[in-house]
Symmetry: D2
Subunit: 258 residues, 4 copies
């Protein structure tokens, strides 16, 4: 259990992190920031650097995205989590954000994990989509070994033969990781399923299994998103998600999981 | 939505099916039957025919197990689900039970599915541990094509590279199957995880995701079970599971899943 | 090592089994039989009963297919391998063929394996596409336990996340199975890859790894095949396959594998 | 097809790259170098920087290993391939070696691929053990986009449910990659299987399927290796591998693969 400013991870009340997959422009980023803040969200997601399978796909706004993060923080007071993709840009990312995200492709990029461990910022570490739970726990140790134990572990789906979802969200990883480590554990129902229509039920499943939070994608117009639109929630769907989490809160505060 | 006697599947209230993996002897089966009935359970599980990877492992009591099913039903009034492994014994199984189970190894045993479809008993069809959701839905059609649409689909984990659990419980299959079919969908947290310590959180996850029920293993003394003991709940743990389901009920009755 | 009539399995010289996936009609089946015989093939494949994912797909000619097998054997003297799908039809299948095939969906259908073990015919047992090597070896024991040890193990690909091939042909299973058992081991490059253009290189790979043979699909007109056409070889491609196997023979006769 | 000094990749004659997994000390590295040179090998492998799952495992000799590479090249005239793990050490690695290896954990480390693309050295790119063939081909494009197309693609096994091998060597990737790209394709039978006893048959399988070469691990005393000893060949086994490749050469020079 630890806090990032006023937000407590692992304290019993689930943390919902929300925002766009990629920061596309000022208008889009501010629109999402205001909407999620209106629903009580404290931590905004949004990538400036996007690792993409093809070198020809949109790679994020880069430095310009980091500038927009600074502006949105000043304008709203929101905390921000954003991804660091390589050791070269870690310091620039650390300078503007509150939590540094390591994506699934980089879970085993140990040089990057060590460098992030030296920034003084907590890390949100995503499980590689083909990483065992044991490898995931070991990867977190590369960060912790630098002296900071503020790691948020994020289950985001593993690659299987099933093709109706982008990957298979391994919810059993939640109770397992809580047994094996003392780190808070959250779940990403957006990237794991790759389908906006599964985000609400999988959020409820994750929280009922004991997850300390979720990280979800929200976009003003998912069909026009430059990146991963199919899995993003539009504003009305995001509202329904928050209503559903509210309905589940009484249970979560009393659950008797071992 | 349909009923098996007084039990409604798909009606909003989750159905908990409980019992031993295999019927080992009269004492064990009656002990579990009485314990689960005491907690309000209406459907007892328990296998007389057990398909085992090795021909040298315990294969179930066979005909003797079917006799015990008859006796336990008379003594308690419980309904019983038990597995049919082959076309030869389908009729004998159908004669004593209320729901016929088809196990994951037989999900694509189409001859068996057709024969079960002719018995007049509803089927509890388990997803093969390497079957896609599409193949699972098609398999159910082999049963339905015989004229009976009382199929309960059961997600029981798929095989992945992760080794800390026996298989990976694919909870996203629950909302997906409910979109693709009108059959009730339940989850087996015992066989899927292979770990008794994960049964409670995974039951809650499944129900929160919209499952219509769960099927769990209960044994008076899991360490001495002839089959799959590690994943069985003893009586106190089963009590905690039922308490947890009770705590979740108020949420389940009001959930706003699409 | 054992013989089926004049064909030796496991004797150093690779056995090529060839024929259509399904027997579609007399003309197609005789055309393939004559073509493969012309190239020196002794064992013809071809299914009368076809287990298909959807109950609405072509399921094979059934009894009519068994009649055609009888006729083709009389006319050509070829030996025939064909699939038994269920315990009901095992005896009818055994009455016409020389080797009974158990398909991957039925590898763990232990009742079927036991029944086949009583027919007095050798079995060609395909690895389930979700089965570990250990489970595969255990499945063979269900057959052997009936008193006949003439099992041909057939690696036919396992299900993975890769989608460019139908499954992933696990060639390392060949040397592993030869270490773990004394059964001959063959490979199915047609069903495993699902692509006719990969059949030749994967046949060579399998034989170079020590396989005792291959089973391949040949069809007079793959584009019009009722079942699995994309993976079938037409006659010219089958000719190139046989030429390639001939080129590899000098190596195979001298290989020094442990 | 391209050359690295006097070694031609993709020219029909297979290239065998051999050496230890990790450079452990001068004695071990020189012993292997001399042994592989004695058998006609031109390219020596050996890691100075080793990415390991646990931060507490041996991580390689680092700079000291790079010094030993310089010495071994001067003493023997061998060419060397060694891994670059992060952007910080790419230039130091490029300064001493002839081919830069990118390991499977870093296949999708696009920043690293771009940096390596600027060094003027060819790259040996290993397929991630969770990467589709399509992602593998895209990753190579990150390197090529920098202006150098000297990429050697290396299939090294994908992660599956099978546990008797470390991963499943996907030999069908060889003909597929040759259809999809013009890069040479080699195979790593040591890391993929994790078993020295499978290296010879899998090498033969890979070459018979059309691979342009293999990269294998050789160690004077595999049982005492600091890293991955079980999969290394000792000198006599390496001799048998080379004899086997020699036996296969006449076939390889005449193969008629499409």
């Amino acid at each position: 259990m630890f806090s990032v400013e006023d937000v407590v991870f692992g304290g019993g009340k689930p943390v919902v992190i929300a925002g766009p997959c990629a920061i596309e422009n000022r208008e889009q980023y501010f629109a999402v920031a205001q909407e999620v803040q209106r629903r009580g969200i404290r931590i905004l997601r949004g990538g400036a650097f996007k690792p993409r399978t093809s070198p020809h796909a949109f790679q994020g706004l880069g430095e310009e995205g980091l500038e927009l993060i600074k502006e949105v923080k000043q304008a709203t007071g929101l905390l921000v989590v954003t991804e660091a993709m390589d050791t070269e840009t870690v310091d620039a990312v650390a300078a503007v954000c509150d939590i540094i995200q390591i994506g699934p492709r980089n879970m085993a990029n140990y040089s990057l994990l060590k460098k992030v461990g030296k920034t003084g910022k907590p890390v949100l570490l995503k499980r590689g989509f083909m990483a065992t739970i044991s490898e995931f726990v070991h990867a977190a140790e590369y960060f912790v070994k630098e002296g900071d134990d503020r790691v948020i572990l994020c289950e985001r789906g593993i690659r299987t033969f099933e093709t109706q979802t982008r990957s298979t969200l391994d919810i059993s990883a939640v109770p397992l990781l809580k047994k094996l480590t003392s780190h808070p554990v959250i779940v990403d129902p957006s990237h794991s399923t790759g389908r906006g229509d599964l985000v609400i039920p999988m959020t409820c499943a994750a929280l009922a299994a004991g997850a300390d939070g979720v990280i979800v994608e929200v976009h003003p117009n998912p069909r026009k998103a430059l990146c991963d639109g199919l899995q993003s929630l539009d504003f009305p769907a995001f509202g329904r998600l928050m209503d559903e989490v509210d309905r589940l809160l009484p249970y979560l505060s009393r659950n008797g999981h071992p």
